[in-house]
Amino acid sequence: MTQFSQSRLDSIDIAFYHTRLSYNRRKITNQIMLIFTGILTSLALLPLVWIISYVVYKGGQYLSLDFFTQMPKPLGMEGGGVLHAIEGTIILTVLGGVIAIPPALLAAIYAAYHSNTILGIAVRFGTDVLSGVPSIIVGLFVYALVVKNQGHYSALAGGIALAIIIFPTIVRTTEEMIKLTPRTLREGSLALGAPEWKTTLSVTLVAAANGIVTGILLGLARASGETAPLLFTALGNENYEIGKIISSGVANRQGLLAILNRIFEQPVDSLPLTLWKYAQQPYPERISQSWAAALVLMILILVLNIATRIWLQRRMSRLQGR
């Protein structure tokens, strides 16, 4: 080992001696920056409080039972509700879920068990990229795929668009949840001679059910707030009323399938679509209704979000406690 001369050692020691003087400055910088990040965090979350409080304030002023049970009144008239949009939101969201969930679960099962194959990587990477595709592009795609072929806008087209939007979310959460289930569980069932499909459906998916349901509900919550993919798929329809369709169908002695077909083949409105249209109209009544629609939509989405998260956390902590 090279021996350093005493004078060189001293020069380093003296340098350290002097650097000690900046200790206070370093500590103050530390304090300031740590507090500053806290301030930035509250700045990031400030809009949440601001938006929620305004939507509750403005929407709450208008909200009444009529708003949920009445159809819209003609422009310029007071009163009326958004029953058509509430029904439409339910129809579109359920349709999106029904279309997306089965293939999403299967794709997730593939990705979870074949994470190293080319297709497995393609699924994981593809879902990530797909979730970043602008929703308006999905709207364009479904327009070309469904609307153009059918020749008219429809609830079905809107449902397919929403399905494409939530598909990646469900695949990714399901895949993560399947991966979290212990391998031994699966091996135990396979060792008993159960075929793979039975094992996956009755053991793996059941064990991962909590997480999967959470993923689906969060996906549906997102779908129910989407507007852009519906602009040229579901389009909007102020005369849409399921009750009327069903009663006229029954009166005409149509079968269940025919009635369902009439429900799905018409253009349909949804809460966000209605909100968007009303907000841009120069009638104060419509703008108030727009705030009310925002409140309903926000409650729906926030409740879904908070409830599923709390539920999942409870289930998880109970499982861990065991």
Binding site: S11, D13, A15, F16, Y17, T19, S22, Y23, R26, K27
Partner: protein, 317 residues
């Protein structure tokens, strides 16, 4: 030497009931701890230089003293009533079965345990006579005085040069010439200079495991600590790299006080001057206690405690 050891052992055996041994603990540099100047001097003068003036073994200092130290994670008590002195310019090994709290004790010496939430301590740890757990103590300063080398090499994903210059730069050193000198000296002290002097600006991550660990030692040396804690520094290394680290420790002890945690008894026997044996007091509460502490030769050849004997002879559990 023998005379000293006897004194030490007497001292050690009395430790559980008494904690003040002014005759042995040299408080001279910290009597006026509040005065900045004294403090600075105390950490500026490497212990080696003090020793070189007074080579007699009786004057060997306690670098640090752990006094009746207990540590809790929430309700769980990890350490109970540990008292031991760490001798300056010696290598002290802490051995014991896994889960006995030896790493926890080591990490208490530079307050790395503060990172764990819900931690609570009782007792004191004196570094050069100053309680590092006293309120208002500058934790950053403590860590700077007590360096640490971890179980797995953890170089930053920066160049070798920047890894070593990281510490000095924190303290405000910007002069290139000075940094060059520190980097070179630290690498030489860590016996790594010859291997890396031509690739100082390559990534530290590109080195082999053993080299990475020596880089981490060099990085710790660069801030001129007084004491270096090593938490199983060779556990992730192959035998050749392990040997290098052990040789390095021997060459470093003239300037630094070293405390090493190891679960490798041969290693403790080979490298250390003093050995502390820790164990859990009972399997239910799993609290770590200090069973025996003394010169390494004695702990391994003539242990005073039955449990120690069982452990060092391999009859343990």
């Amino acid at each position: 030497m023998d005379m000293f050891l006897d004194t030490f052992l007497l001292d050690f055996q009395n430790r559980n009931s008494h904690h003040n041994f002014p005759s042995l603990i040299d408080y001279s540099v910290t009597e006026t701890a509040e005065e900045d100047k004294t403090k600075k001097v105390s950490f500026l003068v490497p212990a080696s230089q003090i020793d070189s003036f007074t080579p007699s073994p009786q004057d060997t200092k306690y670098k640090a003293s752990i006094l009746n130290f207990s540590l809790f994670y929430g309700k769980f008590q990890a350490l109970r009533n540990i008292s031991m002195d760490i001798m300056a310019n010696k290598i002290t090994a802490i051995i014991g079965p896994s889960g006995c709290g030896k790493s926890t004790l080591l990490r208490s010496l530079n307050r790395m345990n503060d990172l764990v939430p819900n931690i609570r301590i009782q007792g004191q740890i004196l570094l050069e006579g100053e309680n590092i757990y006293a309120p208002g103590v500058d934790i950053v300063g403590v860590r700077r005085r007590v360096g640490m080398v971890f179980q797995r090499p953890n170089p930053f994903p920066k160049s070798i040069y920047d890894n070593i210059a990281y510490g000095p730069r924190l303290y405000g050193m910007r002069r290139r010439a000075l940094l060059d000198e520190i980097v070179e000296r630290s690498l030489q002290q860590a016996a790594l200079w010859d291997e890396v002097k031509d690739k100082l600006h390559h990534s530290g991550m590109a080195l082999s495991g053993g080299q990475q660990q020596r880089l981490c030692i060099a990085r710790a040396l660069a801030v001129q600590p007084e004491m270096i804690l090593m938490d199983e520094p060779a556990s992730a290394l192959d035998p050749v790299a392990t040997l290098k680290i052990e040789e390095l420790m021997q060459s470093l002890k003239s300037e630094y006080t070293i405390v090493i945690v190891t679960h490798n008894m041969q290693q403790a026997a080979r490298v250390s001057d003093y050995t502390a044996f820790m164990m859990i007091d009972n399997p239910q509460n799993r609290t770590g206690v200090l069973v025996e502490y003394g010169p390494t030769a004695q702990v391994f050849t003539n242990p005073q405690n039955k449990q120690t004997e069982d452990y060092v002879t391999g009859r343990f559990g």
